[in-house]
């Protein structure tokens, strides 16, 4: 079965072709009849293959040579190992659930078949990304998911904000991808190959040329990993390239769940874990990864505490959780990072889908201040959402607790006390804003349009099923895979794919630390409950009291404004100058000038063209005689 790995991405691709060709004209409202089975079959095959991988088989499959140019050879090939398997299962399983959810959520949308084309295309690209056996094919998937993200953010293209958000995501990702690409160039010139197996074999056998000080006293492998990490910053929305992700919430909610929470944005974490043999040779990069991760985790969490758009809160929460994953990878606990990635995929997809159900019920309302009291009418949504929020907040024994606690534990035992403290502070805020989110949405009185209040309806079956499955997953996945911490199923399974974690520098009691983070989470939940359930007028008083801090958070630290003033608008002024000053006068002037020169020079010569056939024949003959004469007699 494992040699049929290509079937996993092939099914969604077939779905793309069928829906792309016939969706608009024939399938229309039946487009899901193609797209959902495509995702389902893909998941089924992935599951069968995963069983073989669990039994200990791995595969490095070369399908055929993709690019061959001298020494530069890149195959289309798949690497099936534990890491790829975890990612593949996450992507196909969550993807399948969200496909099912979309049947209900997107029902009646004029772009229904187009939506499923993009979703299947996304599945294909993401699977190529995680299953590739070389960096260039990974980059193909990397760009493919970027394209789908752009297309899906701007899915409702009549909306200016949506297309702007799509453009923003695309442009910000260009910055990261430029770094990624430079990293690939450097990797190729250094190692002469982009195949994972060969690169890592070289890194293991001959670390000296890679780790010797090179440019600027910094080793080549550090440069490579740094450049690759810039790509990860863009794709996984880390400081300072995170700005596109909150805006990406303009897309349909299933897209936010699948692409901007569960799968695509975790590609950076996957890439770092996949390259762990390289990253482990570059301690400075690892420090940077951990620092950026911890800073992002806290930074995004503070913003999430004051936002009032339901999806924006979850988006900032996603950025924050991605920060935790990078923190884990940065301190060498790659397995914990990937574990958090998998659990996060469950509860964050659940949160987004729950938010989608709420938005669906309220006919597009996304403002938290116009919600409230929805627990009674939307019973199923409320309880599943609560599970997701609790898992995200790190409540024992839900999924998020196991993975997040492990990351903090790893940060502490490797001696990164500062980063650990940042992470712990982030954990407090996470618990706080998750409680706030839940309370504002589902508790208290209904503050929205009374016209909507009368016919609120809970999620239809196609939307309820994914909610239930994901809620179940959010409850059990953490403990099932992650117990006991550091030695759970997932760690043992992943171990062969990843570089070994560094030796623990300090000793700490896992129980004590876990208790501490539980306590912090409890404090956050308590604070949230008090402020948003009990003393509901206090938050406003606090906002008024600390107005400056509140405004800063409300405007998301003015990062967008700073980027606009300092980067985007100078660039646009430069472009305008180049357009008018350089392109129009110099380039166009040169082209027009050549044409005018020729016209001036040719007004006499054109008389040669008499239009009389006889003259042409004689000229041709004379030319032939002269030419042949030169060839025969001239030499």
């Amino acid at each position: 079965m494992i040699q049929y790995i290509w079937l996993v991405p092939a099914f969604p691709l077939v779905g793309v072709v069928i829906n792309g060709l016939f969706g608009r004209s024939y399938l229309r409202e039946r487009a899901h009849l193609v797209a959902v089975p495509a995702a389902g079959l893909s998941f089924l095959v992935a599951l069968l293959i995963a069983l073989e991988v669990v039994a200990g088989r791995t595969l490095d499959l070369h399908l055929y040579p993709w690019i061959v140019a001298g020494h530069f050879q890149v195959p289309i090939g798949f690497l099936v190992d534990p890491l790829a398997t975890v990612m593949m299962l996450t992507v196909t399983f969550v993807g399948l659930l969200i496909h099912i959810y979309s049947i209900g959520y997107m029902h009646g949308d004029p772009g229904y078949p187009r939506f499923f084309v993009y979703m299947n295309l996304f599945m294909f690209s993401m699977l190529m990304l995680v299953l590739a056996n070389n960096y260039l094919l990974m980059f193909l998937g990397w760009e493919g998911v970027g394209l789908c993200s752009y297309l899906l953010i701007g899915f409702w293209y009549e909306k200016k904000t949506a297309t702007d958000a799509g453009n923003k995501a695309f442009l910000v990702n260009r910055v990261g991808d430029a770094g990624f690409l430079l990293g690939l160039f450097l990797l190729w010139t250094t190692c002469g190959t982009l195949q994972y197996a060969e690169v890592f074999a070289r890194a293991a056998a001959l670390p000296a040329p890679l780790t010797a000080p090179a440019v600027g006293g910094v080793s080549l492998v550090t440069w490579i990993t740094l450049l690759l990490f810039i790509g990860a910053m863009g794709k996984s929305a880390q400081l300072p390239l995170y700005v596109w992700l909150p805006d990406a919430m303009e897309g349909p909610t299933p897209v936010s769940a699948l692409i901007h929470a569960a799968t695509m944005v975790t590609a950076g974490v996957y890439m770092v874990a996949r390259s762990s043999p390289l990253y482990s040779l570059a301690p400075p990069t690892l420090e940077l990864v951990a620092t950026i991760g911890a800073l992002t985790a806290l930074f995004a969490a503070t913003i999430a505490c004051v936002q009032t758009d339901i999806k924006r809160v979850i988006a900032y929460s996603t950025i924050s959780q991605l920060g935790y994953m990078f923190l884990g990878a940065g301190v060498g606990a790659y397995a914990s990072g990937i574990f958090h990635l998998a659990t996060h995929a469950f509860f964050k997809a659940l949160l987004f889908l729950g938010a989608g159900a709420v938005i669906h019920a309220l006919h597009g309302e996304q403002d938290l201040q116009r919600m409230g009291g929805l627990r009674r009418p939307l019973k199923l949504t409320a309880y599943t959402f609560l599970i997701g929020a609790a898992a995200n907040a790190g409540v024992f024994p839900l999924a998020g607790f196991w993975s997040k606690d492990e990351i903090l534990f790893a940060a502490f035992t490797t001696g990164h006390y500062g980063l650990w403290a940042l992470g712990l502070a982030g954990a407090f805020l996470t618990a706080f804003y998750m409680t706030r989110l839940y309370c504002l949405t589902f508790e208290g009185p209904f503050r929205g349009d009374p016209a909507h209040a009368r016919h609120l309806h809970d999620a239809p079956p196609s939307m309820a099923l994914p909610l239930l499955v994901l809620a179940l997953g959010s409850v059990v996945v953490g403990g099932l895979l992650g117990y006991p911490p550091e030695h759970g199923l997932v760690h043992q399974f992943l171990a062969p794919s990843l570089a070994a974690a560094p030796e623990a520098a300090g000793h700490a009691s896992a129980g004590l630390l876990a208790g501490l983070s539980l306590g912090v989470a409890g404090a956050g939940i308590g604070a949230g409950t008090l402020l948003y359930l009990r003393w509901r007028d206090v938050p406003e008083l606090l906002a008024a009291r600390f107005q400056r801090a509140y405004r800063l958070l409300w405007h998301q630290y003015y990062v967008d404004e700073v980027y606009w003033d300092w980067i985007a608008s100078p660039l646009m002024r430069l472009s305008a100058f180049l357009w008018r000053g350089f392109d129009v006068t110099i380039v166009d002037g040169a082209v027009d000038g050549v044409a005018r020169l020729l016209e001036l020079g040719s007004w006499r010569v054109r008389r040669l063209q008499t239009g009389v056939v006889f003259n042409y024949v004689l000229s041709i003959l004379a030319g032939a005689v002269l030419l042949l004469g030169y060839l025969v007699l001239g030499r």
Binding site: G611, F614, L618
Partner: protein, 100 residues
């Protein structure tokens, strides 16, 4: 056995007749036929050379020349029809599209 020069002489004569035809006639169709005659004159010398050099390359080339001739006739006649449709004539003296 007829010597090579006899064939070459005939080939040269046919070629020259073709040239004169192209140079002097005004009917586009006849000019075109003269071109065909020139091609055939060359074919004749190809075959003659092949025969006297004990080689088949010349004969193979005749095939290629025939292919080109067939393609040329198809396109050329289509052009003549198009010109006739626009100008109501096939007299090349009356067509001055290339005049600068």
């Amino acid at each position: 056995m007829v010597p090579l020069w006899a064939y070459l002489f005939l080939s040269a004569f046919l070629f020259a007749v073709g040239v004169v035809g192209v140079a002097t006639r005004r009917n586009a169709l006849v000019i075109f036929m003269s071109i065909e005659l020139m091609l055939n004159a060359v074919n004749l010398s190809f075959v003659a050379f092949a025969r006297f050099l004990h080689s088949l390359d010349g004969q193979v080339f005749v095939f290629f020349v025939m292919t080109v001739a067939a393609a040329e006739v198809a396109v050329g006649l289509a052009i003549i029809i198009a010109i006739f449709r626009n100008a109501e004539t096939v007299n090349v003296d009356e067509v001055h599209l290339l005049k600068g």
